[in-house]
């Protein structure tokens, strides 16, 4: 029996649109679940997904991809990467698995919403595969770290993180709840698959796979590449949806969703990927600075896809680009200083050579962030360990749930961006975060930051020990300096002197 070519039957087979006669249209596609700014379903007939596949093809390819990823893992299990890899690399792995694995599970739920409530049959078809992709990503990224759990409890956070009130987990949940778990199908297409996946995760996974290969972690490299091939397919759900919205006069509404998506994605990437690229990755393996990476992928490539879709650049574009210079340095300093409150061991990345590199990539680094690190180094060398640790909480942003922080030292520009709403004062890291709140205050008003929870008495006793208990961080799980402060010894004989420019 000859099998018809996919192109001969795909358009008919995937067209699962019909006019309901037993229920009303509104019942089959409730606007709350579908979204789409009131555009009738007929408007979506022109939705044309750029990537077409069928179920048998999908299953065959996914089976091969899974087999490849699992066999690389099995083959390399004995090669002792865990014992030989740099501690900074292991921190990247722990941070990645904890922050991402269950986020993939949430994304599965979001894809399922598009699969059921998407207004275009092409979207529903693509999202059905996307839903299975995300299930695979969850399984892989829970299974791969599992082999390390018996050696290092922090790897258990691949599964544990999202079930806790650890602050970075709260930040990730708040972001993902906003971008896709509590959105309608159309908004998910725009915010998850376009803003988040096309803009950020796709390139992040490409970068991570390359970094992994560079440090010799071929298991992680093949895992991440395997996931990335799925991402680059289902990330294409959003583009054609945006096209329909723009063509139907909903440009402004669509832009707002895109802008919120990019702004929130940027925060998560600057706290996770920024420190990983510029500090945790050993200097000899660093290819690009985080800033260069962002300029190439976000300003170079993603900006072009926005323009091609007929969208204007976000009002905050220049502000966000200005943040590429400093925001992730501030987050890194915060994560390192509050290190007992994370499930990985932050690598300071603070050898004299590291500092020269930072100064070269970010001119002025030594006069700003370097000033804080100078004090830390003095304390480490003098054995004043307690002074390298916090005794209070940072104020966290009511949008990102990350510390409100910016440039210290001679460039001091730290500032609160407050907002009064219904008798409560909210605090934000920037005008961008505050603007997101202002787009829909009723959506965001009820959430309590970790600081609000402390002040409301949820954290007992109200000190670091109570906070660690509240965050479910047990001894053996709390973070500490990845290299046990060995990097500081270089300064004992020679205080840091900035290289002459």
């Amino acid at each position: 029996m000859t099998v018809m070519d996919r192109s001969e039957w795909y358009d008919i087979a995937r067209d699962t649109n019909w006019s309901p006669s037993f229920v009303r249209e509104q019942e089959m596609f409730p606007p709350q679940m579908t979204g789409g700014f009131g555009l009738a379903r007929e408007k979506w007939v022109g939705y044309d997904e750029p990537y077409k596949t069928s179920y048998p093809e999908y299953v065959r390819i996914q089976r091969e991809k899974d087999a490849a990823a699992y066999s690389v893992k099995a083959a390399l299990e004995r090669n002792k990467l865990f014992e030989t890899a740099d501690a900074g690399w292991l921190s990247i792995l722990k941070q990645h698995y904890g922050a991402i694995a269950l986020g993939e599970y949430a994304a599965m739920s979001a894809e399922a919403r598009m699969a059921r409530f998407g207004l275009a049959s092409g979207m529903r078809n693509m999202a059905t595969f996307g839903m299975m992709d995300e299930n695979r990503h969850t399984q892989l990224q829970l299974y791969f770290p599992h082999e390390h759990c018996n050696k290092d409890r922090q790897f258990d956070w691949a599964h544990k993180a999202y079930h806790t009130n650890e602050w970075a987990a709260i930040a990730a949940r708040h972001t993902f709840d906003d971008l896709f778990l509590s959105r309608d199908a159309t908004s998910i297409a725009v915010m998850l698959t376009f803003a988040f996946e096309t803009g950020f995760t796709n390139m992040q996974f490409l970068g991570l796979a390359a970094d992994a290969a560079e440090v010799g972690d071929y298991t992680f490299s093949s895992l991440i590449s395997s996931i990335q091939t799925d991402e680059s397919r289902h990330a294409q759900i959003g583009g054609p949806a945006l096209q329909i919205l723009v063509e139907s006069g909903k440009k402004e509404e669509a832009e707002k969703l895109v802008y919120i998506g990019i702004a929130r994605a940027w925060r998560l990437f600057s706290v996770l990927t920024g420190p990983a690229m510029d500090y945790y990755t050993p200097l000899s393996h660093r290819k690009q600075s985080f800033k260069e990476f962002m300029l190439e992928w976000i300003v170079g490539q993603f900006e072009r896809s926005l323009i091609e879709l007929g969208l204007d650049l976000p009002w905050y574009w220049e502000k966000m680009i200005a943040e590429f210079e400093y925001q992730h340095h501030a987050y890194h300093l915060g994560v390192w200083f509050w290190r007992p409150t994370v499930w990985w061991n932050p690598a300071a990345g603070m050898s004299p050579d590291d500092r020269d590199w930072l100064e070269e990539k970010y001119p002025g680094w030594n006069d700003t962030f370097g000033k804080c690190w100078d004090v830390i180094i003095d304390n480490v060398l003098a054995g004043r360990h307690e002074k390298t640790l916090p005794e209070t909480l940072p104020i966290v942003c009511n949008m990102s749930q990350l510390p409100i922080c910016a440039i210290p030292g001679n460039g001091w520009n730290v500032k609160d961006y407050p907002k009064e709403f219904e008798g409560r004062t909210y605090h934000f890291n920037s005008e961008i975060d505050r603007w997101i709140f202002e787009t829909d205050p009723a959506r965001y008003r009820g959430h309590m930051t970790i600081v609000d929870r402390l002040l409301a008495g949820h954290i007992q006793p109200p000190d670091l020990s109570g906070a660690l208990k509240y965050m479910n961080l047990s001894p053996g799980e709390c973070g500490d300096d990845a290299h046990k402060f060995a990097w500081a010894e270089a300064y004992r004989a020679n205080p840091y002197a900035k290289k002459a420019a």
Binding site: A330, L333, G334, F337, F369, K371, C372, D374, V375, I376, N379, K387, T388, P390, E391, T392, L393, P394, I395, P403, I404, C405, A406, I407, P408, G409, W412, V414, K415, D416, P418, T425, H427, V451, L454, L455
Partner: protein, 87 residues
Amino acid sequence: MNPFPFISNFQGDFVLQLVLADMTSTMDEVAANAAYHSVGRRVVAQPGKDIRVRKAGNEDFFPRTMKVDQSGLKAMDCLEILFVDPE
């Protein structure tokens, strides 16, 4: 005890922090409590300088002996804490 939690934005530090004082604390005590969490941790001490308090966005500092409950400040206001030359 009538606690006064506030947001400390300490000159030269990189982050806003939650700091506690009392409604009867003087501004010098407020400044000292803020300094405890910044100076010697990420900010170098500046011996010989005073540490003064002002409301975020204001130019003028509160008088050093003014008490919180005389200042009009409320819980979780953001305060800027700066090193200044002694008067």
